[in-house]
């Protein structure tokens, strides 16, 4: 396969740039050999051929100074660099760049846990630190701090937080729990945000806002700088933890559970990232589709009922937890139970009831911040591993839940795919995650999945829904749905982009934000 080159870069210029990058980080950390190393930077699960996202090289700096050196080379040659941290943002593109030929700026080697503060409950980490890394460290040290992790343990704290990821403990809104950043701008300037702007500050990880504009959010889901350090708040281990699960027998129960849970969430009786997952999501932790159904298209209702009965699952399955001293949990449980008992046929389960059920075990771990990889069992559902997440935001409102569920399920069935989804309840919203699973060895399934995704974006936009995160392939299309007042929001992003990165070297096209020199050229 011919190596793709960055847009507008000649082979001779590219060779010069690579030689300069080798001087900056050492030849060992500039990867150009497709067979030996570079193929591992592709998106393993895309709906498109992976050549659409094949990098020309990857460079892995270890220090801030090396990142500055890499950016200097990029500026000299107008070389587009695509920043990743742990590179596990699968379903959204993984480590792959937006366009073929970009050079991946791989920050995995920046893997220091710089500080953990037990008393104040925070850590300061570099981008290469995964949830599993931080968890292992805290366990090793006997710390009483919990992390809040993404479902797959190998996710990165900086990467997940800066892509607006969510978790399942009371600290599940990751960006809300972020405090202070070190950012390198395209010109090499190192910026400390918030209180970090005060030399020798002791509060850079304690108070988010400093004085003046709070800018941390500008460096998330964007391409305005390279985050090289981040503070993240960690929860003190509570004196008690009581996870529970409720199985709901009918599809329409989604409306009732959503409306019943909202007041409990708003009052923080249920404080954690609670969620309602559909039957197939939970089933996939234990069984595969083929064990129940070998026909084409979505699983028929009769089979769904059989799966639910065999696995003691509902059409929807609600998970949440209580935290705190026993008397508080007892008191709160009375309120929660009285609420949940209003749902006809709902069954309540605790740890002793479901221990050994992989679906329960991994949820119970996640709601107390124990990283694991069980959710990857979803990839076994149809086999072949392809998956891409369609992630619209919904109000935490029963009617909205049903509307989005029907919108996505009906389209998924029209395109012969299962609906596999969950609603993760935030403070007042829900992240609705539709896991579109397909066999990545089947060109037909990939084509249908790609088309379905594009249709869903348009369907959602017509109903006033927008997505909170997306795959490389659909960043432009989704950006175009945030088009109020002639794209005023994205035009503002472009103004910032041009001011902060006039050479247009940083992650061109991230979330539909293109530098001036490439604007309007994307297909």
């Amino acid at each position: 396969m011919d190596k793709p080159l960055p847009q507008g870069i000649s082979p001779a210029t590219f060779a010069s740039a690579i030689a300069e990058l080798q001087v900056v980080v050492g030849a060992e950390y500039v990867f150009t050999d497709d067979r030996a190393h570079l193929r591992s930077y592709r998106d393993a699960y895309s709906t498109l051929d992976d050549s659409n996202f094949a990098p020309s090289a990857a460079v892995a700096p270890k220090t801030v100074e090396e990142v500055q050196g890499v950016l200097a080379v990029a500026r000299t040659h107008q070389l587009p660099v695509w920043t990743i941290s742990t590179g596990k943002n699968f379903a959204y593109g993984g480590p792959a760049p937006r366009k073929p030929g970009y050079v991946v700026l791989d920050l995995k080697r920046m893997n220091r846990i710089i500080e953990v503060n037990e008393k104040h409950g925070y850590a300061v980490v570099e981008p290469g630190v995964s949830y599993q890394d931080l968890y292992n460290y805290l366990q090793e040290k006997g710390s009483k701090l919990w992390i809040d992790c993404a479902a797959p343990a190998w996710g990165g704290i900086v990467g997940n937080t800066s892509d607006h990821g969510a978790g399942y403990t009371p600290y599940g809104d990751h960006l809300l729990m972020q405090c202070g950043m070190e950012v390198i701008l395209a010109d090499g300037t190192v910026v400390e945000t918030g209180m970090g702007g005060v030399p020798n500050s002791k509060t850079s990880s304690l108070y988010k806002y400093g004085i003046g504009p709070w800018v941390d959010g500008l460096f998330t889901q964007s391409n305005f700088g390279v985050i090289t350090k981040m503070g993240i708040w960690l929860m003190h281990e509570p004196p008690g933890y009581m996870p529970f699960m409720v199985t709901l027998p009918r599809e329409e129960d989604l409306e009732l559970i959503t409306d019943l849970v909202l007041p409990l969430k708003l009052n923080m009786v249920i404080a954690n990232g609670a969620l309602t997952a559909d039957l197939l999501w939970e089933s996939a932790m234990s069984v595969t589709k083929r064990q129940y159904y070998t026909g084409k298209g979505p699983v028929p209702d009769s089979i769904r009922k059989k799966i639910a009965s065999d696995l003691k699952l509902g059409m929807w399955n609600f998970y949440a937890a209580l935290y705190g001293p026993q008397p508080i949990m007892d008191n709160n449980w009375e309120m929660v139970e009285a609420t949940l008992r209003q749902i006809p046929g709902a069954k309540i389960y605790f740890d002793a009831d479901r221990k050994g059920d992989p679906g329960w075990d991994y949820r119970a771990k996640l709601m107390r911040g124990i990283p694991n990889m069980t959710e990857f069992s979803l990839l076994n559902w149809v086999g072949g591993g392809g998956h891409i997440n369609f992630s619209p935001i919904s109000a935490a409102d029963g009617k909205d839940s049903m509307k989005q569920f029907h919108m996505i399920r009906d389209r998924a069935h029209e395109y012969n795919f299962d609906y596999i989804g969950e609603f993760l309840i935030g403070w007042r919203d829900q992240h609705h995650i539709f896991m579109l699973m397909f066999d990545r060895m089947s060109d037909d399934e990939k084509k249908r999945a790609h088309e379905l995704f594009g249709v869903l974006i348009n369907d959602a936009a017509k109903l006033g829904y927008g997505e909170y995160r997306t795959h490389l392939s659909f960043m432009d299309q989704i950006a175009d749905t945030y088009n109020y007042n002639d794209r005023a929001l994205w035009r503002m992003h472009e103004t910032l982009k041009d001011a902060l990165d006039p050479d247009g070297i940083l992650s061109p096209g991230k979330m539909g934000i293109w530098p001036q020199r490439m604007r309007g050229q994307q297909s």
Binding site: H37, A58, R109, G128, D133, F376, S377, N380
Partner: protein, 147 residues
């Protein structure tokens, strides 16, 4: 009995400080050597085990809740579902799958598992499987026999 020679386990993540209470305290002296730049090139079973634990065990350990084990059990039967008990995995095959991925499994980048880590990982997997399986059963699958 496995031959656990070589150096002490080097943590993959480097930690500067666990400060007790004073915010902002750092200890820049506590920096461990970078794995990838270490002069030590010997295959290291303990390091291979650490690499396995960090990157492989979540999907490939025995028991329910492990996606890789679940898949292999369906495809190849219970007896071939745990990679640490497989005697038919050649070094080339493991190297190929780690770098290229396979079906549900994503590839691992050289910044996750560098070439030296990979040598140690292969040695560890093969060491474990030879312990678990005293009668190796012939040739390794080729990459085209994708699991």
């Amino acid at each position: 009995m496995k031959n656990m020679l070589v150096t002490a386990l080097v943590p993959v993540v480097l930690v500067l400080a666990l400060s007790a209470c004073e915010p902002g305290q750092k200890d820049s002296a506590a920096v461990a050597p970078d794995l990838a730049t270490s002069a030590e090139k010997t295959v290291d079973l303990a390091h291979g085990q650490a690499t396995y634990n960090l990157f492989c065990s979540g999907c490939h350990n025995p028991g329910d809740g492990h996606a890789g084990t679940m898949k292999l059990k369906l495809l190849k039967g219970e007896e071939n579902s745990v990679i640490l008990a497989r005697a038919d995995l050649s070094a080339d095959y493991i190297r190929y799958v780690v770098r290229d991925g396979l079906m549900e499994m994503a590839p691992f980048r050289p910044t996750d598992i560098n070439d030296r880590d990979l040598d140690s990982l292969i040695a560890y997997i093969q060491s474990e499987s030879s312990t678990a399986n005293t009668a190796p059963n012939g040739s390794s699958p080729t990459p085209s026999e994708a699991d």
